[in-house]
């Protein structure tokens, strides 16, 4: 970490075309050192809370036991990996973030932090997380954690997000890794159950994010990101939200169907997922009007967050009862 000063850097070590990035971030970078809070903000603490929660659920739902110190270390490593990947994401997308109201106040576009500092911080966090997982927990967990960071920072952020409207579908994979890694930290192997937990978050992400994209689509269009509502149109996006919601119902039931969970999870998954579909129906079938308040979309987005927390809580509760 170095002190701020001068214009933000624009050179990057990776030679990947970024035709959509034509502007620079705020050139008002202060001469003062960045606050530690700015580095903390780089880790996307809100997203990290969901990462920590799902990783913890994967760890607690896995068959077997792990010493609390090692369990804490595994969760810490997963959180650090997610934070490092988020910092690398913001380093790469600083120009793009500057164009969107939702992200313009982040440390890099607002000029509170130097780009190279964000890159170094992200690399340090990512490397340290994999190292800790490797020496303290399990090599397979470390390998999957390393791949998840690479997947989010390179495959998603640098490669696919600016190129395909399927970016959210692919990006969902990055957010789906934490419960898988948490599970592996306990068992040391990849079986059907943690893969299903991965699949649940993978399928959950498109309707969750596209519901958001429907009511902030102006921002994404302005930033040149090929978000589904911008490229395929609102109607197609709405149909896909409904389609993924129905698919989510099926996938969320699979852990119970294959006998990996008990009735607590089975009933919870059924009720929660049916409600998800019910809330998706008006979103999927309606057409927005000029000056539309998008209440159905906002309600679905809000519920989707509750859904994931409730589903994974049910998974852990089920495991606790079975144990």
């Amino acid at each position: 970490m170095t002190t701020g000063g001068g214009a933000p850097e624009t050179g990057r070590p990776l030679h990947i075309e970024k035709p959509h990035l034509t502007t620079t971030v705020a050139s008002t970078a202060t001469q003062l050192p960045a606050e530690w809070r700015d580095f903390f903000a780089l880790t996307k603490p809100r997203v990290m809370s969901l990462v920590v929660f799902t990783a913890l659920c994967g760890l607690l739902a896995a068959p077997g036991a792990i010493h609390p110190v090692l369990g804490f270390t595994a969760i810490l490593a997963i959180a650090m990996g997610a934070g490092g990947a988020a910092a690398l994401n913001q380093w790469w997308e600083a120009d793009l973030d500057a164009k969107m109201k939702r992200t313009a106040k982040r440390p890099l576009p607002s000029g509170r932090l130097r780009r190279s500092d964000a890159r170094d911080f992200g690399m340090l966090m990512s490397g340290a997380s994999v190292f800790i997982m490797l020496v303290a927990i399990h090599w397979l967990a470390a390998v999957v954690l390393a791949f998840s960071i690479f997947y989010y920072a390179v495959i998603y952020t640098m490669w696919l997000k600016p190129r395909t409207p399927q970016n959210i579908v692919i990006g969902g994979g990055a957010g789906a890794f934490p419960p898988l890694i948490g599970w592996i930290a306990v068992t040391g192997e990849i079986t059907a159950m943690p893969v299903l937990l991965f699949a649940i978050i993978f399928i959950w992400t498109p309707p969750h994010f596209w519901a958001l994209a429907l009511f902030v689509k102006t921002d994404y269009a302005k930033a040149g990101i090929p978000m589904m509502p911008v490229v395929a149109g609102e109607k197609s996006t709405r149909h896909q939200i409904l389609g993924y919601s129905v698919l989510l119902l099926a996938v969320a039931m699979l852990p119970w169907i294959i006998g990996g969970t008990g009735l607590i999870y089975g009933i919870s998954a059924l009720l929660l997922s049916v409600l998800f579909v019910v809330l998706s129906i008006p979103v999927g079938l309606r057409t927005s009007q000029p000056d539309d308040r998008m209440m159905q979309e906002k309600r679905l987005f809000g519920y989707s967050v509750i859904y994931l927390f409730a589903l994974f809580t049910a998974l852990v509760a089920d495991r606790m009862v079975l144990a």
């Binding site: 970490m1 001469q31 003062l32 050192p33 960045a34 606050e35 530690w36 010493h67 110190v69 090692l70 804490f72 270390t73 810490l76 303290a136």
Partner: protein, 41 residues
């Protein structure tokens, strides 16, 4: 750099140093605990 800016500079640097120190101390304790647990395996 004005006196006010210098004061702010020192405050931020001190805050960052304190946070880094706490994090490093936390890692020392954590690795000590991991070592103890692993030795018991």
């Amino acid at each position: 750099m004005t006196p006010e800016e210098e004061k702010e500079f020192i405050r931020r640097r001190k805050n960052r140093n304190v946070v880094i120190g706490l994090i490093l101390a936390g890692f020392v304790i954590l690795f000590y605990a991991i070592t103890i647990v692993r030795m018991g395996d």
